[in-house]
Symmetry: C2
Subunit: 351 residues, 2 copies
């Protein structure tokens, strides 16, 4: 059995009986019932995901997957495609947004070359997992072969297994010039929506470039005819290596009962692919923020996820996930560190 | 000249020319223009507030003001009034929600007895600044004398001055059983709204208690006839000691060019009093979160503030401010720590 199949088969729903057990503990803490709102939800879900009523959160890791996209040749991005490789080097030197925010939240960043069209040599600190040297142009044919798509998924799964440890929590991130185009194409195809409603300005394109981007996405779906019942086909034909890596990471995390905090538009496209392959992964996902990018709400609806940060972000890299991980940790600390009414000698609610 | 008058006179609008200077620096960082959304806004505002294009954020302090309320006798809260003092002791022992979240965000908590109806002796760690031993019942007459209200404001101002240092950022918080009632009364009076639209369930009261709470607020406004052109009169007649302390802290912070992150419903009532006294304080305020409490949006509108966390919180103490301070700090770190395009050798946007 393939690693992908075995991983999917190993994903089970969380034990919902733990929600009420966790809430019973939260209700003993010195605060009005449920007054910490979503922080309490994070704690309940963390307990149910990890299966531990004494939850441990010890190691925060953001995986930033990088890949190039043939469709960049269609003028869908405001930036030249060499920026993907340049930003990977920036990540390794610690100068990018994700580095700053991951340091701020106490998370490690693992930078993964899963599909950059550049030879990094032995660049220290880089996770060398190249599956493709950039994808092909989806306007003209499939981004990848089916085999390559599976290898991207399995690369993510393998990383999740390598970093799986007690108290681990993962965040997703990505870098890839033009990668809002495959992401919008995926959600357009899966939902049968108009690409007009799913396509945004990415790094900041003007009206003409936006109109062109929409046409490119229409063409990509028409040319490739993805089978929406077959998520691997959708990923291979419309996707990108980093989207596959993120989907795989989420599958691997869920199979190891590790919570995953998902970043913005492109990361959520990966999460959607994962949830099409294994619907139960939704139980393991925390959607960190609502992106400015237009199709993000449709993706989040498909995941039945409600984001908790609204900061008008549209950078990616894992920046929203870095802050999101810190907020999930806040919920776990509330659960673990607050005094109970009886310990603190505080009177409870009037009968 | 009184400390209050002198402080109000010393508050000036921020230098708006610094917004564009700060944004020019942000635009050189390795990310698409404005792609970090509100984090960039936080950085711009922090620069303008402190007047420093090399912003320093070194010392985070949450001030949790505690006070009791005579109106608790009207059955407006789900908890007995002795909980105010019990929670103060819980704060001092580090077991409350604010302690957990302040530790998580690297902030110090200063617990201030400004109006608790309890003798704490020399309780170590407590800032002993008692102005009143609980307020009087606003359903029957004014909460405080005008002189007491001024002393509450000046207590907050004095604390702000004591903790003013380069790189300081403040957060506001409070504890006081029944204090959503004076807060709702203040915003009802100032906006001329119906108390039905401004009154929520506080710590979790049922429908009957909510109907009673609304009647109590109607009575308080009718009996006291506050002069809404005179914010000190509104504070004295409808307010509470901790609301006055928070208003004073904000005035003192603004006069010292220190940013203040405001917590939820009660803290925002304090911020509204401060902004009625000195409209420029709005420039110095970051509204951290949108409370579940019903009248909060009306208060935020009056401050022209847009909150950035939506976590269904309704605890108070400064819990939302603790997380909000960490997010403002994230914006400052982005400004200070990210590489520029030229430093990182990253290509800029296509022409």
């Amino acid at each position: 059995m393939s690693l992908l199949k075995k991983t999917i088969d190993g994903i089970t729903p969380v034990d919902v009986s733990l929600f009420s057990k966790a809430q019973a503990h939260l209700n003993n803490l010195t605060k009005p019932l449920s007054s910490l709102g979503r922080l309490e939800e994070f704690a309940r879900r963390y307990v149910a995901i990890t299966g531990n009523l004494q939850p441990v959160l010890r190691k925060k890791t953001i995986f930033t997957f990088a890949g190039d996209h043939g469709v960049a040749d269609e003028g869908v991005s405001a930036f030249p495609k060499e920026v993907t490789a340049q930003m990977v080097l920036n990540f390794l030197r610690g100068g990018a947004g994700i580095n700053v925010l991951a340091r701020h939240s106490g998370a490690e960043v693992v930078v993964v070359d899963i599909g950059v069209a550049h030879d990094f040599g032995d660049a220290p600190g880089l996770a060398h997992r190249k599956v493709v040297r950039g994808t092909a142009n989806i306007r003209k044919g499939p981004a990848m072969t089916r085999d390559e798509a599976v290898r991207c998924l399995e690369t993510g799964i393998t990383l999740a297994k390598e970093y799986a440890t007690e108290g681990a929590i993962f965040g997703t991130g990505e870098m890839g010039i033009a990668n809002t185009t495959p992401s919008a194409a995926i959600i357009t195809a899966l939902t049968g929506s108009s690409p007009v409603d799913m396509t945004g300005r990415g790094t900041g394109i003007d009206d003409n470039a936006l109109a062109n981007k929409i046409t490119v996405i229409e063409d990509a779906i028409r040319v490739n005819r993805p089978d929406i019942k077959d998520p691997v086909d959708v990923l291979a034909k419309l996707g990108g290596a980093e989207i596959g890596g993120i989907a795989g990471l989420i599958l691997g995390a869920a199979s190891s009962r590790i919570p995953v905090v998902v970043d913005g538009f492109i990361s959520t496209a990966g999460a959607v692919i994962a949830s099409e392959l294994a619907p139960c992964v939704k139980d393991y996902i925390f959607a960190s923020h609502l992106s400015v990018e237009k199709g993000h709400t449709a993706m989040l609806n498909r995941l039945e996820a409600r984001p908790f940060l609204d900061l008008d972000l549209r950078l990616g890299e894992g920046t929203g996930a870095a802050m999101g991980i810190w907020l999930v940790e806040a919920g776990v600390k509330i659960y673990n560190e607050m005094a109970t009414f009886s310990d603190a000698g505080v009177s409870e609610k009037n009968a």
